[in-house]
């Protein structure tokens, strides 16, 4: 018997069909995984179930009764609660206030009594939380417990979890999966949205795969395996850790580093030290990957190297290797190199910076493609002459970039806001890779992109490495950063826990290091570390 059933659910945004006649059946007391790439329509579907979006077509059944979910409140009344990827917690309020928010209360809140209730409830579910602490002060893992308690407090029977492990360290993920099992044992039903195959295999009873807004397959987890799921998810064979071979001429990176960072300390916007004594060298023709859970100092490190944030202490040097000066005539390089302006210069070095958030940091959305392409070079020849902008040069430059970087746009006067995420990122690539930068900082360059665009971005960056650029590749996606890097640094709490040679890095080890290495398996880590150290440090 089906418990929750979706029948032909369709949702459109303008001309874009996010969900196309989705059928989905979920049994009571099970964990049902909803698997798909970014943009496959998982989140849209769950936002419909939780009442945030209204479907354009189709019907939802609960216990074989047709229901309509008009609002998040309505969803909760039907016993459906959603745990969002970005927690729906008010950071300024306390745990107790967040949990009781919006529940039927008298005018006067008896906060102390409520706090005691919540503490009790947390203990019962194995979800200990400090009920009177302000949520913004808590660690992400604890915040997630609050989020789960919040729906349990509303007596929800079906929990929808949207990418719940994205923000957790591997250690936290393990205990989180335990919590899921416990909830199912307690007769809750769980819908678990993810794009991580391990977790699907590990915890789910059934799995449904979405691709481009459609259901591709649905089956009990026991009847499938990782490879099949991967194939269904992306509609092609995937091989993880595929590494493009380094051109033989560059197999030994130049020994003099392009970038040399020494005991770097940087404060975040709250004036707390976020980068705490990092030292490393980065050579021409090399990708140094930086892995780590979000918020461990990545942002501050990247901004400091790009010269956007003042540093507290330490040094950032660009020693300028003699032999790695990029030439204009690198074969097989499609970067438009003639008459393109140089990028931002730091101490004589051209730096390209692909920032983390393309819409707010990388682009001016209301500007045309052409104007976005000269964001850094608008004062330079050929775009500016005699105090005037040269519109024809700007347009020609844009047309060249549109062609070279395969930006799907009819015209250079199209606004950046009218482009898809992948094309927006291509605009940024076209701008940042112009003038063949010697150093490239790529911060989460594939975040939120579909497979095709991800592939494109990565290929382009590997091309740049092969040309001789030094690349700092920062990502929270473990497998991605491992696949891209020649060396891999693991960042935890503002420090490099370790720097591994690419071939020494395994998912297990790096995952362990990302938690600061302070887990029970520390001995394994130490062993790996000593192996890695000799090859890694310089």
């Amino acid at each position: 018997m089906s418990y929750l059933r979706l029948d032909g659910i369709t949702k459109q945004f303008g001309t874009f069909v996010a969900n196309d006649a989705i059928d989905l059946t979920i049994e009571k007391g099970t964990v049902h995984a909803l698997l798909g790439e970014n943009g496959a329509g998982k989140s849209t579907l769950m936002n419909i179930l939780s009442g945030l979006y209204q479907p354009d077509g189709g019907q939802i059944f609960l216990d074989n009764q047709p229901i309509s979910i008009a609002s998040p409140k309505g969803a909760i009344q039907h016993g459906i609660g959603m745990i969002h990827q970005h927690f729906m917690l008010v950071p300024q309020l306390t745990v107790t206030e967040n949990i009781i928010l919006g529940t039927r209360q008298g005018i006067v809140l008896n906060l102390d009594q409520k706090a005691a209730e919540i503490e009790e409830m947390g203990r019962a579910y194995g979800l200990d939380v400090p009920p009177l602490a302000t949520v913004g002060d808590l660690a992400v893992g604890i915040q997630q417990r609050v989020e789960i308690l919040k729906v349990l407090y509303r007596r929800v029977k079906i929990l929808i979890l949207d990418e719940p492990t994205a923000v957790l360290t591997p250690g936290e993920i393990a205990s989180f999966l335990d919590i899921l099992r416990q909830l199912v044992a307690d007769d809750h039903t769980i819908v678990f949205i993810t794009h991580k195959l391990d977790e699907v295999m590990n915890v789910s009873d059934a799995v449904t795969i979405l691709r481009q807004g459609k259901v591709v397959a649905s089956m009990p987890t026991a009847t499938t395996n990782r490879q099949d799921l991967a194939k269904l998810m992306v509609d092609r064979d995937v091989s993880v850790n595929q590494r493009s071979p380094r051109p033989s001429a560059l197999s030994q990176p130049a020994r003099s580093p392009m970038l040399s960072v020494n005991n770097l300390w940087v404060n975040n916007s709250q004036q707390v030290a976020a980068v705490r004594g990092i030292s490393f060298h980065l050579h021409a023709g090399e990708i140094l990957g930086i892995a780590g859970v979000d918020g461990n100092g990545q942002r501050e490190l990247a901004d400091a190297i790009a010269g956007l944030t003042p540093i507290t202490s330490g040094t950032i040097d660009f020693p300028q290797p003699r032999d790695a000066t990029p030439s204009n005539a690198t074969p097989g390089n499609a970067t438009p190199s003639n008459a393109t302006p140089s990028n931002a210069k730091r101490a004589g070095i051209t730096v390209g910076y692909i920032p983390e958030d393309r819409q707010s940091q990388g682009l001016v959305l209301s500007f045309s493609i052409a104007r976005n392409l000269i964001l850094k070079a608008f004062r330079q020849w050929p775009f500016c002459k005699n105090w005037l902008l040269r519109q024809s040069a700007i347009r020609d430059h844009a047309l060249r970039a549109i062609q070279h970087f395969d930006i799907r746009a009819q015209h250079s006067s199209l606004k950046a806001s009218q482009l898809s995420g992948g094309n927006q990122q291509k605009v940024i690539l076209a701008r940042e890779l112009a003038g063949e930068p010697q150093l490239i900082i790529a911060m989460q360059p594939t975040r939120g992109l579909d497979i095709g665009a991800t592939d494109y971005v990565q290929t382009r960056l590997l091309e740049q490495r092969d040309r001789g650029a030094a690349i700092l590749y920062i990502s929270t996606e473990l497998e991605e950063v491992m696949a891209m890097s020649d060396r891999l640094a693991v960042l935890y709490n503002g420090q490099f826990v370790d720097v591994l040679a690419g071939e020494d890095a395994t998912v297990g080890l790096v995952g362990l290091l990302m938690t600061g290495g302070a887990t029970a398996d520390a001995s394994i880590a130490n062993e790996h570390r000593s192996n890695a150290r000799e090859s890694a440090l310089h």
Binding site: G14, Q361, V364, S366, F378, L414
Partner: protein, 381 residues
């Protein structure tokens, strides 16, 4: 997100008729707002027991078709044009300069000081110097708010508003004290030197060459904003200060510069009142031009050329109001109501337009960018 299919993307303008259509869409909300405000104004007149047709007829006939009336319109339009251009420059960089009124006062004072001193200079030196004095005073006054925003994170909206009152009282002190004409019946300053007079342009009227100054600046500003690196930088800071910071633009410096320019233009409006109209500084000499300017700038949607037309319209209202009061027996304050309502209606019509456009998610992404205007710049520079 998937590629939206090519056909559904807005096409770039091509051909004359499409260009014209695009301009029409841009001009429609302000025109609708003005129309609606005039309509409500007509309703108010009916309530007041007067005929709107007679009243509007008298107003526009006087201010646009009679020699003295049109001269008066130009006289009123001159400061409105200048201070509105100032507000507009601020808006382009995402800054709400609501301190035009105070900057007018400070500009008047600056021009007065230059105009009273340096007696004996030839006009071609003295007049530009006096105008520059006004620009400097107005610009410095607005730069205070710009600096406080950049250095201390203070919202410029409130600081510019508070600075208005301070400037007004300060000028009042100046003409009652240090710059008081000896034996004057009411507080005003002595005449500035004749070499600092802005020349009259229409005989026997008060219209003066300040209008040419305003028109020239509108044209220059159009070119500067659309075709120079500075204009590009201003727009970048206004549209997305974070991206500007990532592009190594000194955002804070740009904001202070733009505020100074904005205040400088408002100061120039004050200069025109002193050097062109009264030739001396009066207490409370601005009847709220600084606030009209906010309406004018918002109605003009960031376009300096549009400011010329909008300022002309507002000048027309102010110029014909007295004749309308006499001939149609409508209190002239009805024009204040009309002016205030245009801002209300432009806000509504722009919002409705936004909703109309908000069908596809790609456009939605653009409208979601947080409104930068009025938010503290978190940009150390």
């Amino acid at each position: 997100m998937n590629q939206p299919s090519i056909e559904n993307r807005p096409r770039p303008p091509s051909g004359f008729s499409q260009q014209a259509m695009q301009w029409l869409w841009i001009a429609l909300p302000p025109l609708a707002a003005i129309g609606a405000a005039l309509l409500v104004g007509a309703g108010l007149m009916v309530v007041a027991g007067a005929s709107p047709i007679v009243a509007y007829g008298a107003l526009f006939r006087e201010s646009l078709t009679t020699y003295y009336g049109f001269a008066n319109t130009l006289t009123k339009m001159t400061p409105l044009l200048l201070v509105s251009l100032g507000v507009l420059v601020g808006l382009r960089a995402g800054q709400f300069n609501l301190g035009g009124e105070g900057q007018i006062y400070m500009g008047g004072l600056g021009s007065l000081i230059v105009g009273l001193n340096f007696q004996g200079l030839p006009m071609w030196i003295h007049l530009p110097l006096a105008l520059l004095g006004g620009m400097l005073f107005g610009g410095a006054w607005a730069a205070i708010a710009g600096y406080l925003k950049v250095a201390r994170g203070l919202n410029e909206v409130l600081t510019t508003l508070l600075l208005n009152y301070i400037a007004q009282h300060f000028v009042s002190y100046m003409v009652n004290g240090p710059f008081k004409e000896p034996g004057a019946p009411s507080p005003f300053s002595p005449l500035v030197a004749e070499s600092a007079f802005l020349p009259g342009i229409l005989p026997k009227t008060q219209a003066h060459a300040g209008i040419f100054l305003g028109l020239a600046i509108a044209l220059i500003l159009t070119v500067v904003l659309s075709s120079t690196p500075f204009g590009y930088q201003v727009d970048m800071v206004g549209q997305n200060p974070i991206a500007a910071r990532y592009a190594n633009i000194p955002v804070g410096k740009t904001i202070v510069m733009v505020m100074a320019l904005s205040g400088g233009l408002a100061g120039l409006a004050g200069s025109c009142e002193v050097l062109g109209l009264k030739h001396r500084l009066f207490e409370n000499f601005s009847p709220g031009y600084g606030f009209d300017a906010i309406a004018i700038a918002l109605l003009s949607r960031g376009n300096p050329i549009a400011v010329i037309l909008t300022a002309l319209f507002f000048g027309t209202l102010r110029s014909g109001a007295n004749v309308m009061q006499r001939s149609a027996n409508v209190p002239f304050t009805v024009i204040y109501a009309i002016q205030g309502l245009t801002v209300l209606f432009i806000a509504i019509s722009l919002a409705l337009l936004e909703f109309r456009n908000k069908r596809s998610p790609v456009v939605e992404a653009a409208s979601l960018t947080p409104p930068n205007a009025g938010t503290p710049a978190s940009v150390p520079d």
